[in-house]
Symmetry: C6
Subunit: 269 residues, 6 copies
């Protein structure tokens, strides 16, 4: 049966469990119902790959601002798939690689996946894999071409593959030709109103007392930040902060408990 096949395959080419777990260890704070929906969509794509006869390969792009949580979503969906082959292609593990070495590492991961009946590959941070820089729109065309072909390529007969890529390239995704190779794309949202912020603040317990929390939110509200989703559409003062950045700001504020609220607000302006 399936789980047995899984057992046998793993030793052969190893689902890099540790790597994935490291990425997802800090968990996901559900500061909005959208967060849940992203994971649900992920499950649908996992099912499609596992079941549909006609689409043995499905590729999905997760895009959003820097630090909005793209990597953690991709890794979580991959992990929850329970597919026997799950790998992350990450720039973190390619520091100092030459263009040729990068291409070879990327290609190897795809080729390895073809040995498993069911695979997920997370292609993390297209911008860094491509050596992208806005100044002069420079990037590695060789890596780009490799990714364009590999993401679009059908796996061999009997093999199924889900590709989850992350990117903060925005519209450049189209200019670079990526839009043709993805079957679907999921938008990862930033924290954009005080209702969401409150969920996060409670979750990480920045403030010692409820009153401090209340007071901070009140001040942010009177400064003009949107209080809820509908206000966020036409904000006096927009709040657009990636969850990763927000968590980092909170940790800095935590260093000075007496003035945490003040520090937090300074950083948000």
């Amino acid at each position: 049966d399936f789980s047995q096949a899984l057992e046998e395959i793993k030793p052969a080419y190893g689902a890099s469990e540790e790597e994935i777990q490291e990425v997802i260890q800090n968990g996901i704070i559900e500061f909005d119902s959208e967060i849940h929906e992203i994971l649900e969509k992920g499950k649908l794509f996992v099912n499609q790959v596992a079941k549909s006869e006609r689409t043995p390969r499905v590729s999905v792009l997760l895009n959003g601002l820097p630090g909005s949580g793209k990597t953690v979503f991709a890794a979580t969906i991959a992990w929850q798939s329970q597919f026997p082959f799950v790998k992350i292609i990450s720039p973190d593990r390619m520091v100092g690689f030459s263009e040729a070495q990068k291409i070879s590492a990327i290609t190897k991961t795809f080729n390895d996946s073809y040995k498993s009946p069911l695979s997920v590959i997370v292609v993390d941070s297209l911008e860094r894999l491509l050596d992208w820089t806005y100044l002069g729109s420079r990037f590695s065309n060789a890596v780009l071409q490799t990714l364009l072909v590999l993401i679009a390529r059908k796996p061999p007969k009997g093999r199924r593959l889900l590709v989850l890529a992350t990117s903060s390239l925005g519209q450049h995704i189209v200019d670079l030709g990526f839009s043709e190779v993805f079957d679907a794309s999921i938008k990862v949202p930033p924290v954009s109103h005080l209702g969401q912020l409150e969920v996060v603040l409670r979750s990480v317990e920045l403030f010692a007392s409820e009153s401090e929390l209340r007071e901070t939110l009140r001040q942010l509200s009177s400064a003009g930040f949107p209080r809820n989703a509908s206000e966020a559409e036409t904000p006096t003062l927009p709040l657009l902060v990636g969850i990763k950045k927000l968590l980092s700001i909170i940790e800095m504020a935590r260093q000075e408990p007496e003035s945490a609220g003040q520090r937090l607000m300074n950083a948000l302006f």
Copy 2:
């Protein structure tokens, strides 16, 4: 006789049957009479190569939007030719190749074809073979020059060659100098009205009931999508979707049978 020659030649340099069959295995849905005409035109070119004394080399370009079915048409025409030498030059098989390796692989295929009295070469996806990217109009000039010379080059005495190339480069084909090397070009159309869509939907049996199908088409129609070819010329809301993308959308919709119609419609807007 001919078939005997075929037998003898095959072992020597192998018509890559598997490769071709893999490409054409999903078949062609005849959602329009144009589909049939493309295959007929293909046969004419096959005949011309086989018979005309003056044109031992004929080259044809299949162009169309991404996912419109260019590769499957080229492969089908090649397969139906029953020529002893049939090969696909595909970026899928050149991942990670250096420029020099690509050129050498392409050149080898043409040189191999010169050993057979009758050959078809499918040059698939000029844009990927060239490492083309719209951003900065970058491409490999060395591969371009190789293709320009090889596609235009007459095979040696007594040898005949049909070249079928595919591309979604649109007008860039002219800028790149390809227009001079092709004897003819065939336009591969996207699905552009609901009549065609209906043929496809019936063919893949997305809906469990006729009423669901009807309802979905009715809603799409009232949304403004053209109902037939003549409406498609001046559409309220244009429908322009490659068959490959359409089939992918359908498979996603199939994952949630209860709301398949809705999913399909969301994806088409």
Copy 3:
């Protein structure tokens, strides 16, 4: 005497007769008196090289639209010179060469020619030798510089050399600096009126009956194509087709004898 010298030289560095004959085998259809004049001009240059003391090197550029017959003219003039050394430098024989290999092959041909008292070198398709592409005006500067020097360089004492180059680069010839290195240039014309077309059609016997030919010409005429040279100067609908393309169109039309006229006309619009 001369012919004896010729005999002796040939074995040493071989006039590549086969190569030349292959190019000229399809012959030249004299669809206009200009065609004859080109060959006559060629003979004058051959004589000048053979006789003038002051110009041991003459270089001539044949330019014209793609497929207008430049290569066949250059090869024919070269062949008719009956010089002991006749060689074609052709991109067809340099596929996959690196820049350095191209330069070395080109240089070798010129150096070899210096061993013969009388030589013709056909430098075919400057645009392909240079890896020229209109998109971004890219080209190999190293090959360009090599050609500029070699075409302008005087052969050693007692040696005489005619260089015949072909190009469809139009005005770019000047930008690239070629205009300074050629002593003269010959324009190769396309088929530009129905009178010329008729000569070609009769010559290749596309139509089974005289009436079919007449009818086709009549229709083309009433569509607005110029009937003769004077009409071609201010045409309602210009006819500008290289003879090579025209012959290819004719062969395609020939595949459907019943509708050959129609096919021909479609292709000409």
Copy 4:
């Protein structure tokens, strides 16, 4: 305990004490209260790294005009951290390195730091590490990508890292994509009014007599230089000089004690 761990680790991969001490040996003149605040902020980040569970990696950018003292601040904060691993990545020690050698040296420093429980890395002078030049906005993209990944990369489990980078790139920091990888940024101010200048002049004892000092300041004041912070906001004649440049000017002036005031003033205009 902690200090013992420190002892043990040092021999293994050496905190380069000498290197750091060399940088900080000339000390910091507290010409403004801001100077003190910078060092205090530095301590907060050091604490955050040492204590916060959620932010095992904190990265801070020190930016300011050339010669404003960025390097000395970064080195001082690093030194005062008393972390067992403290290293400076400096262009001074990479003269003549190839791009690959630079990348390898940078990467090695980060990898070495992962062996220590607590580390500080000073990434000094991003502009020189990147081979940045304003003329044509040239820079090494390979070094840029390496820094972007390494500065953002989380250290392995149980390791903590503070990255202190310095730069005078101003807004180009954003174009180059650095703004995403820093958790915070500190502005290093130039000397901008005569009150600050006076502190510096007294500290380095340029003038032999109080009257000379007074007279020089008086002249500078009447020339229009701002006398204090509030005047510096809308100065008649702005004073904007890095402390490094200022100290160099003072040393030149010192060579001619009789006209030191005059020399100083000439250099400040």
Copy 5:
């Protein structure tokens, strides 16, 4: 004495007499008094190098249209110097050289010259040595820098060097930085009026009879070509042809004696 020194030196590093003689063998037609003056100026520079204590190195640029005779003038001045070391640095002898090989050959010639007490180096055709092309203003910066340094460099103590460079780069000479390294520049004029043309035609004896010559000149005059230097300043129809091109045209015309005048005129328009 001097001539003895000359004898001894020659065998050591060879004045390449043959090479020079080959260049100057066709002689100089004195079609204008300017021609004589160029050679006289040349002698002055030769004397300056030989005698002035303060200028052991003099560098002169000969510039003019392509084919105006720059090379023959430089070679003639060099030859007439009777200096023991006379060499031509010519692109003709560097075909197929890599950039590094070119630089090494150029450098070697200069270093060799330093072994002779008196030397002339002809640096022929700066544009070709630099791989210059107008399209995109491409050139070899490495060769340029080498020439800029070598032409400006003082020879070692006791050595004297005259550098004669030729170029048709016009104003680009300034852009490329050459204007700073030449002590003087000489303009080589084209044939610009019929008086000069007549001298040339008589000298090469194109026409069999005086009347033919007269008739041709009369026709050219009535076509509007300037008859003398003063008319050439504001010509109806300018005549601007390099002597090299003119001599080539004459040889072509000579092939058809009966219509030589006509051919000549066609070519001049």
Copy 6:
């Protein structure tokens, strides 16, 4: 004592006396009091390096028009310093070097200097060291970065270094980032009025008689050239000639003693 230390050090890494003497052998004509001041300023910087504790490294830029005497000033200041280590980094000694070889030679000179307690390095002609060309603002970024770091780098403890660089790059010095690395800059002036010219002419004794000199100056004056410094500020006809060019012009004029005045004037217009 100091002079003994000097004796001991020299053999070890040699102050290249010959090299320097060669550069300064032709002497400096004091055609203006400014000339003297430049040398005095030089001495101040030498003293600063030798004495100030706080500035063990001082870097000075000498900039001016081509041929204004920058190199001779830098070499003279270096020579007069009597420091044990004096070296010139000159493009003249790097002809044909690759980028890497240049960088290595430059770096070696700096590293060698660190072995001497007191050193001067003349970095001659930044533009040629950088392979600078105005056309397209091309230059070697690798050499630039090396110079930026080395000129700014503090020598090791106990070592002192004066860097004297020369350049005619004008404002490009700023664009290239050099302005940040120099502590001071000295402007080297051209000959700009007839008073200065007269000093030069007398010094080199171009004219045989006082009357000839007077007459020439009178003519230049009436032509509109400025007679003195104040006229030079708003000249009718500006005189702006580097002393090097002027001396070269004078030597040419000297070749024709009878018309020396005329020749001189022609060259100055």
